[in-house]
């Protein structure tokens, strides 16, 4: 008897799921609940054939099935006919949440850069944005009246102070405060008297410094290459060219194979296939000596590159001034990141 109830229930479920209109529902109603020919009424009549001991339990099951069928029918009939359109939810309406603000693209890239170097075992260091002549120049082997100072377009403040022109003073602060072995990066704002499509008087640099016994130029190349591949793409190539910065020797500039055209040549890389990225080299012995380290015992590499430039390349921004204009139509494009 219980089996028959179960079969009946399954049959009902499949029929009601398939019912598409009111006529189908009324056929189902008659088929199960009608006093005369309804399937439940017939079962009720056959209850007397059941063993008297089991009869109460089977009766309960029968009633429970009847209630189930009545409720489902009512629900199905209601949803087809009774609910006016106005009472239904338009689930496509916006939900209740605040508009999500965005993280500035430069700070997004900043975090990404920091994460990469942290994973490579570098620590994070910081320094002031207003610096002394000593930390910004002298200790970096730019003596007073050195012509290389001309290339720095320095903003000067009173009292012999200046706005740092690079993050390199953090190298000195680190070398003065810590003993090798050390590996740090310093990321922050720097300032130069320059303003056009590709120059802002304030921009962001990241500086890397590794000093220990046996650090080589090859280590510098490997570190920069690893970083470039992590921040851009796995097949990025790095090219080192000789150059001059007073605080490194040998000195270099490095280029990346263009991240937009993979080195084939496009407008961004001026058809050269390469993008100028930054300066680097082996820490100049005078820099180590001035900060109290023996250049015969330890060696080091240092590199610096523009954070804004990385952000611009990653997000396809061609005017650096957009980064500091803070137009919400621009900024809010970065809310998903």
């Amino acid at each position: 008897m219980q089996d028959r109830l179960q079969t009946l229930r399954e049959r009902f479920d499949s029929e009601i799921s398939a019912a598409a209109d009111a006529a189908a529902l009324s056929r189902i109603r008659a088929g199960y609940l009608s006093r005369k020919g309804g399937a439940l009424s017939q079962l009720l009549r056959s209850l007397k054939e059941v063993d008297p001991a089991e009869r109460p339990a089977v009766g309960d099951s029968l009633n429970s099935l009847k209630r189930y069928i009545e409720e489902r029918l009512a629900l199905a009939e209601g949803s087809l006919t009774a609910t006016p359109a106005a009472q239904r939810l338009d689930v496509s309406l916006p939900g209740r949440m605040l508009p999500l603000g965005s993280a500035h693209p430069v700070n997004q890239v900043r975090r990404e850069i920091e994460e990469i170097f942290l994973e490579m075992g570098f620590s994070l260091a910081q320094g002031p944005e207003v610096e002394t002549d000593y930390f910004n120049f002298v200790a970096l082997n730019f003596p007073v009246d050195h012509p290389a100072r001309d290339t720095q377009d320095t903003f000067y403040l009173e009292g012999g102070l200046l706005l740092r022109t690079h993050t390199s003073p953090v190298q000195i602060r680190t070398l003065q405060a810590r003993k090798p072995p050390l590996k740090i990066i310093a990321l922050g704002k720097v300032y130069r008297r320059d303003s056009d499509v590709s120059h802002s008087p304030m921009f962001h640099q990241v500086e890397g410094l590794a000093v220990a016994e046996g650090i080589t130029f090859a280590d510098l190349k490997g570190t920069v290459l690893t970083f470039a591949r992590r921040i851009f793409r796995d097949d990025t190539q790095v090219r080192f060219r000789p150059s001059y910065f007073p605080f490194v020797e040998p000195g270099a500039e490095f280029d990346l194979s263009c991240v937009l055209c993979s080195g084939k040549g496009c407008a961004t890389c001026k058809r050269s296939g390469w993008l100028e990225m930054g300066g680097a080299g082996m820490v100049h012995p005078e820099v180590l000596r001035l900060s109290g380290h023996d250049p015969q015992r330890v060696s080091g590499f240092a590199f610096g590159l523009g954070v804004d430039r990385i952000a611009m390349l990653k997000f396809g921004i061609d005017d650096i001034r957009l980064l500091f204009e803070n137009d919400l139509r621009f900024l809010n494009q970065f809310s998903g990141a």
Binding site: P99, A103, H104, G121, V130, G159, D219, L331
Partner: protein, 658 residues
Amino acid sequence: MPLDSLESFGDDTVYHFDVTTNRPDCMNHLGLGRELAVAEGTRLKEPPVHRDDSPRNAAPPASLAVEAPELCGRYTALVIQKVKVGTSPPWLARRLEAIGLRPINSVVDATNYVLWEMGHPLHAFDLDKLSGRAVRVRRAKSGERLTTLDGVERKLAPEMLVIADDRKAVAVAGVMGGRDSEISGATTEVLLESAHFQAASVRKTSRTLGLHTDASHRFERGADIEVTLKAAARCAALIAEVTGGMVAPGVLEDRQAPATRREIVLRPERVRGLLGLDIAEPVMQDLLQRLGCGVNRNSGPAWRVVPPSFRGDLSLEEDLVEEIARHHGYEKIPVTLPRVFLFPEGRSESEKRLDRIRQGVRHCGFSEALNLSLVSEADNRAFGDASGGIQVLNPLNESEDRLRFSLIPGLLRNLSHNLNRHLNEGRLFEAGRVFRAPATPGELPDEEEKLGLVLGGRFAARHWSEPERQPDFFDLKGALDLAVNLHGISQVEWKPAQRSFLVPGRGAEIRASGRLLGWAGEVAPQTASAWSLDCVALAGEISLRELSTVLPEGASFRHTPLARTPGVSRDLSLILDASHSYREVEAAIRSVEGIPVASIELFDRYEGAPIPREKIGLSVRVIFRAPGRTMVSEEISEFLDRIIHRLRDRLGAVLRGN
């Protein structure tokens, strides 16, 4: 030596090179030729020097005295007689024009030509104009004046080196000649100077006078002391050729600087160690020799290397390492990672806090801005820095000549920029440093990390189901509270406070544990209009440094066990003077001793009819919870009575409807 660009000039091609400041020897054709020859493995063909220095013994028709040898290590001069000064022959004029120089006359053009050919600056004097036919190399006298070739009268000072005749200064040494002795159509006798001046002195003089010339550019980067006679001879021959003159026998020469012979110890092992490159010794030796270095390998593992005189930039072992690496090719250096394993220190606590704040306020709808740290004096004064802020001595423009004292001026500019582009509402934040002048001049200024928030517009951002409204103080307060609460600081006190840039009565100070964290409020109309804002604007700023002083100790945090007994809640609708704050109501309820208040929540506030004027209605829900037992209704009634009494006594509050 990076080639910057190519440009055609008639049938010729002009190559632009980017020469770094350490390579003055390459700022000329010969020098670039030398580099190219090394790179290509060929030999350099040097320009002809027609005249050797044989007639040294003859007496030249002029006299020379170097009186400041510390600033002039060597002075060489030749005399060319019977010159007829005119325009240069076309080949000479054309070559000068190709590199962007204006031909002047045949003598001056010849000196410029040799400067660009050999890299050594030369100067030609009209010998007849030199009083006593004398050349004195001395420091300028105090107050001495000289009109330079550009027609400007220059005031000289004793730290400047000049060339003088026996009466007066006739040239600023290494920078520019004087007008009185310049070569003219009437010149018949030329004294050609080829000297070596001290780099720092030339640089200082050139900067003091604001006079940057091809000559000073080279001297300040370091000229080759050994080349003066050769350059003079080459140029004198050229002058004779283009003017029909003849070089007089005899050389004026005074050299007090010792011969330059720098010997650098080079250890091949060091080269390999620094580069991480296995490079053979014969390869190193060959490269150095091609660069013109003398290499002595007799002393075992340490070589003795003597660089050529024109390579003043080579003085250390590392300089030679670079030369070897450069000419061998940086691309041949392998790629490795440092074999140094360190446990990175990671993000500092303050950076982590800042990251959390950035995330938090973003989720309140604020977008992150980044502004220049450079603002105007007016910006600083308007936001509380009476000093106007730290001054930039050489700003790009007047509106960016101070370091910012507050983040708000920049953020309000951003807000105005956005609202004037038809946005209904703008919400922006910035986290960054602001600057305060040091107590002692010369010390570094105080750099303090702050969080600034602005919001404003015609309509607040809202859900479609809510009515339209203006943005208000509480939009801002919620975000600032969140920024602070994120760090486990729940007891934030907001007290009315006045600022010149806020609407009176609509500003607050934000405190926690007694420390002033910052301020917030509605921007005063005159300030808003100065920022071109014509709608309501709210601004607030907190110090992340102050915030870090009130953080709860991380280790002392303990959770509170959940209450097992149900709370009983009662609502009170109060009417009280509008001069009272909600905070006072809360404080009054909590001040009633011996009643178990679990929480107080404001659920409505209203003014206007039927509430009398100058009064406000506040509806609060008080929840009582006694640990471990169920309260009876008599108790609750008694609690309520006591609260109502306290509110009446302290604040004159009455229950609505009573």
